[in-house]
Amino acid sequence: MKISKEHNHRGRILVVEDQGVVATEIQRCLEDDGYEVTAIATSMEEAIREAFRSRPDLVLMDIRIQGEADGIDVADHLHRHFALPIVYLSAHDDRDTMLRAHRTEPMAFLFKPFKPAELSRTVEIALNRSWVEVRDRERTFLSVMDAIGDAVVTTDSQGNVRFMNRAAEELTGWRQELALGVKATDVVHIVNEQETGAEGFCALLNVDGAPESDSDHEYRVLARDGVYHWVSIKAANIDGAGPSSIRVMVMQDVTRRRQSDQALRRQADLLDQSHEPIFTWDLDGAISYWNRGAQALYGFSPLEALGRAVGALLPAAHPSNDGAWETALGRDGQWSGELTRKTKDGQEIVVESLLVCVSDEAGRKTVLETGRDITSRKGAELEIRRLNQELREHVSELTAVNRELETFNYSIAHDLRAPLRHIDAYAKILLEHADAGLPKEAQNYLGRMRQSAGRMGCMVDELLELSRTSRRELARQGTALKSLLEDVLFELKSEVRDREIEWRIGELPFVDCDPTLTRQVFANLLANAVKFSRPRKLAVIEVGQTWDQGQMTLFVRDNGVGFSMKYADKLFEVFQRLHRREDFEGTGVGLATVQRIIHKHGGRIWVEAELEKGATFNFTLDSPAEPSRGPEREEIAVVAGAR
């Protein structure tokens, strides 16, 4: 829109008059008054063409001109399209014509024939009226311009700024007074990251004709005060082509929108990046958001998931789950718990889910679901439960077996001993009754029968003792081995008064052990030592301790008959004996019992022996992992000799 006026003449006037004489007369008259006559048009087409070309300030229009349309139609067109003020020249005044003419809002009517003075006055009044209207329109226009939020800049055909509104001033940091005549590209400083930004802007500046916009592109504008703004630009070329054309740019500040868009996008990106499955669905069931974590867990891509009903996409493996959360969501707005679902490939997984109901401003409800795959944890729990169950079964089996074993022992004690007693008793009675009548040999046999029965009775008793020892719980306590050993020796010595024995008892430690069982170890080992040294005139029996790599070892040594080491591994087996019964009595249970006790303590026992050169039993009472400190050298003190 052309808004500036030139005042180097009183006014430029287009005359539309097909009567040559009249037209010439009018032109002369006007020029005499100092007006410029831009053209004299004689037809409608010519009038329009000239009006478009010269943009007069006023049109003098003869109502009757050549052609089909009369002057009123032409005037109407010019008034409407070029906002040109019209003064009608008319020779007749019929009502209809006047009414039509009035509707085109003319400045005035001049009735032929008229005097030059009349023409002068009418033209002057019309022009003045027109300028007042223009100024009004201009003021309105400026107010409107300043009121709108978008920045508006107009340039001439050279690209120099002709106008900018307040929003444009704020956007660019330029005052309009300073910007007038400056290149628009300097005022609107485009600093896009891409080079194309400025070029696109130039293209917009050179736009031809119809309004154009570059909606895909947003420009970054650097204001004079150093502030950046993002704008979208619409440009249009108005007032035709050529030097008088005007370009209008409307720039919308989209900085805020861009920032919030970006923030939203960043949040969405972050959500999407999360490994946790996150998705939303409307209360009617359609999935509206589906992140990467959800894809990873359930196998569906966003394309496959979005828009689908959640119940259809992720069917609950156990339908009983469904009712619970629906009720809770309605009541509390959220629900958490375990859901068993099927993934895309049909696998059943257990998800610990949190469902939250969110309402937007419109009151529309969306369910946000996050979850965690706890399938493996569930699996592990199940496995543990299963193992515990197995363990319980094993324990009860074991308990049953133990009970059976006890019953077995009990029946051994009762049922096996009874017949032995009977055999012994009957043999004895027989001996007594038939004392005289029986041959010596028969008496001998009866005697041996009784011995066998007696020996078996011992075996049964010792076997029971062994099993009792095995089942006994260890009761460890700090024990002085020295005094424990003295107790054992006190009992033992009374049984071997007739023997010549040198006892060498060394220093013995204070250890953590079950004293009752340890006492039995010493008793059995010492009884063996006494027994197998019987052939010696002077038996020598040593008890002591040695230290080896921080581990204390106890030993019992004798100078008895010993044995060949090739049988050493049989020594600790039940009922295994390395000597003839008539040489050395015994059942072969004693050492087995000793070994069991030592194993119960976590220790070990081993033997060094040689035939006819004695035997040494070494043993420990705890595992090598927890050695106790003590003297490094073996200490043996001779305590007493004989008896």
Binding site: Y410, A413, H414, D415, R417, A418, P419, L420, R421, H422, D424, A425, Y426, A427, K428, I429, R450, A453, G454, G457
Partner: protein
């Protein structure tokens, strides 16, 4: 006051050999002749409480001693002991447990239920003979049997104090 036909010993024993040998020793050593044998727990209880085949027996004539095996058919020895010691009519009777078992469980329960003595049958017959002889002399001759009053009323609450 002793009646001629009074039973002196109730021998509760199911094993025929043990029965034979025990009787042999008791008679050989002239400890007593009036021995009542019960071959299982039920028979022993029937005798003591005058039931079944013993319903005509005079309940006031108590044996002087009960020799009780533990492993018995029908009602086992410990159950028999419990019933004897729970009933005021019999609880004063001396009961000697004579058994093959030396199980600690049996010992503990035997004494807790009020057994007066606990003897394991020795394998060696000489020892067995001596044992039977000594316990017979002790309980039948040395020991003063409980007087009639010992079998009267009073409450059962006394039993635990005896255990």
């Amino acid at each position: 006051m002793m009646l001629k036909d009074q039973i002196e010993i109730l021998l509760v024993e199911d094993d025929p050999d043990d029965l034979e040998l025990t009787m042999h020793v008791l008679q050989e050593e002239h400890i007593c002749n009036r021995i009542q044998v019960a071959r299982d727990g039920e028979e022993a209880l029937d005798f003591l409480f005058c039931r079944g085949p013993f319903s005509l027996r005079d309940p006031d004539r108590h044996p002087k001693l009960i020799l009780l095996d533990l492993k018995l058919p029908k009602v086992d020895g410990l159950e028999v002991l419990e019933q004897i010691k729970r009933d005021q009519r019999t609880r004063a009777l001396p009961v000697v447990i004579l058994t093959s078992s030396k199980q600690e469980d049996d010992l503990v329960r035997g004494y807790r239920l009020g057994g007066n003595s606990y003897i394991q049958k020795p394998v060696d017959f000489d020892q067995f003979r001596n044992t039977i002889k000594r316990l017979g002399y002790y309980w039948l001759l040395v020991n003063q049997p409980p007087p009639e009053a010992a079998f009267d009323g009073e409450t059962q609450d006394e039993i635990p104090s005896r255990v």
